[in-house]
């Protein structure tokens, strides 16, 4: 790969305060194209906030976010342009409740990208096949299972042909038997070379899919390394403690 290419996304000296709470404390992070970065850490460690700062769903208090060599600002026009290229998958799916799965996936294509209806539906169907729920295209979100809803939400994000995918605890709201079907889809995307930043508690998935694992605590990055290194040979005491707690379960 061309070494002069800027990182897909780069976070520099990022801080986020919620009132008195220092949710993200001086974080630096860079993700190259095609890489899968998994962020782990105890709840309240600021990992979701960091992820949400990457597409400015939370506006950083200070610091910089660079997406494909462009600095992200609060300028709405630029922001919408960038966001159309950054797919996001939420913990609670957030499918549009009044629209069918198909309409969920075609809406942003048509409104933001002005894609023709036919073409948008073809793209939607292709993505639904990929996540394995092409037969649910005409269902409302409330009519399908949680696992299927999350896969539909992934298809919705993919249909915009994003350069980067952000996953905010995508399996945390799912029943245990549905977690695997979502992780399988994410694994498929990782193998396809889609750049992904994933906040998760699924250590097995992190080990198998990640190029880099980041451990966060109290808003700071405590440790980052390859999954083998971080899981087998953690350097920091906090990482060791967290891993021993979570792996005991």
């Amino acid at each position: 790969m061309d070494n002069n290419q800027p990182p897909m996304i780069e976070v520099k000296n990022l801080h986020k305060w919620f009132g008195d709470l220092h949710a993200v404390d001086d974080v630096n992070l860079s993700v190259q194209q095609g890489k899968v970065v998994v962020i782990i850490g105890p709840s309240g460690s600021g990992k979701s906030t960091l992820l949400r700062c990457m597409n400015f769903l939370e506006t950083p208090t200070s610091g910089e976010v660079w997406f494909m060599g462009e600095r992200m600002t609060t300028d709405q026009k630029d922001l919408n342009r960038h966001r159309a290229e950054i797919g996001m998958v939420f913990q609670s799916f957030n499918l549009y409740a009044h629209l069918t799965v198909m309409e969920n996936i075609t809406l942003a294509q048509r409104v933001v990208k002005k894609t023709e209806k036919k073409e948008a539906e073809a793209i939607a169907l292709e993505q639904l096949r990929k996540v394995g729920i092409a037969d649910k295209a005409d269902k409302l979100p409330s009519q399908i299972s949680g696992g299927q809803q999350q896969r539909a939400a992934i298809a919705r994000a993919l249909a915009m042909k994003p350069k980067l995918m952000l996953f905010d605890e995508p399996t945390s709201a799912l029943d245990p038997e549905m977690i695997k079907e979502v992780l399988d889809v994410m694994m498929l995307l990782a193998k396809e070379g889609i750049t992904m930043v994933i906040v998760t508690h699924e250590m097995g998935f992190a080990r198998a899919a990640a190029d880099e694992v980041i451990f966060m605590d109290f808003g700071r990055i405590v440790e980052k390394s390859t999954p083998e290194n971080l899981f087998n040979n953690p350097q920091s005491e906090r990482t060791k403690l967290f891993l021993s707690q979570i792996l005991q379960k």
Partner: protein, 293 residues
């Protein structure tokens, strides 16, 4: 044989008890209130058909129905537009529009409707017309004769009381429907907006395609009830001498001294209209709850 007889008797007693219970639940679930209202309407209709004093009252007051319905429909439509815009202002992050919207809503909700109708029809509208007239004169002086003359021709006498009534009802009710729309918008989970914005939709696009369709659906019954309330409150415009059913009934009662006839007929007219409308609202409500979700 005797054993058979006694079980047969026991069965019969049990059956009788069962049917008594059924009757009891049926009696309990019967809408007695609706039957009573139906009886009142039927009795009045009978009187209108058979008693000359009632039929005279009815045929006189009937003339106001079209005014009542027209004023209600137009004011309602305008108030929905005002309400939607104001509701959006209420939830807006823009401090200016948020404050303007809240100012308007709280102002209107803090004034009795009767008083606000007087105020709007007799103070606000004439004031606005004078202002436009003054502006027209200024514009004419500045050389913009076309629009200037048009504006300065505005004359308070040209603004009929019916029009003022519509303006007054629209502005007053706009504040109430704004609160309905605000509640509807806030009933849609935050995640819906976040998902839409994360896909690159602008705030306005997200509102239009994602939030409002769900919000309106959630408040459809409330919007329907607002129409019923508007129909009833339109009777207040009789104080502006607009010839709606209430005003005509008042005039009729005043010079014929047939108070029972006039006001019974009037009440039953409103009652029949609101009853029909509330059945429609219930139907819509039922359709929403069965259709999806």
């Amino acid at each position: 044989m005797a054993l058979n007889d006694s079980t047969a008797v026991a069965d019969r007693i049990a059956l009788r008890e069962l049917s008594r219970q059924r009757l009891r639940t049926r009696l309990a679930s019967f809408p007695w209130w609706l039957a009573s209202i139906g009886l009142i309407i039927a009795t009045t209709l009978y009187l209108i058909a058979n008693a000359p004093s009632f039929s005279e009252a009815f045929s006189t007051i009937r003339a106001g129905i079209s005014v009542t319905l027209t004023i209600t429909l137009i004011s309602y439509a305008i108030s929905l537009v005002i309400g939607l815009v104001t509701g959006l202002g209420r939830v807006s992050k823009n401090i200016g529009s948020q404050n303007i919207a809240t100012f308007y809503v709280e102002l209107m909700r803090g004034i009795p409707m009767l008083v606000s109708i007087f105020f709007i029809a007799l103070v606000l509208v004439p004031g606005a017309v004078d202002l436009l007239g003054g502006l027209g004169v200024k514009l004419s002086e500045l050389g913009l004769t076309g629009i200037g003359e048009f504006l300065s021709s505005a004359d308070n006498r040209a603004v009929s009381m019916s029009l003022r009534a519509v303006i007054a009802l629209s502005i007053t009710y706009g504040a109430y429907s704004a609160e309905i729309f605000r509640a509807g918008i806030q009933s849609v989970p935050v995640g819906q907006m976040e998902a839409a914005r994360s896909q690159g939709l602008s705030y306005g696009q997200a509102m239009r395609h994602i939030i409002l369709p769900q919000a309106v659906r959630n408040v459809l019954p409330a919007i329907g009830n607002d129409f019923i309330a508007m129909l009833k409150d339109s009777s207040l415009v009789s104080v502006l001498a607009v010839r709606d059913v209430t005003q005509i009934a008042r005039l009729y009662a005043g010079h014929s001294f047939r108070f029972p006839e006039a006001y019974t007929t009037l009440s039953v007219m409103y009652l029949s209209m609101t009853l029909m409308l509330s059945l429609v609202v219930k139907l819509i409500e039922k359709r929403i709850s069965t259709n999806g979700q």
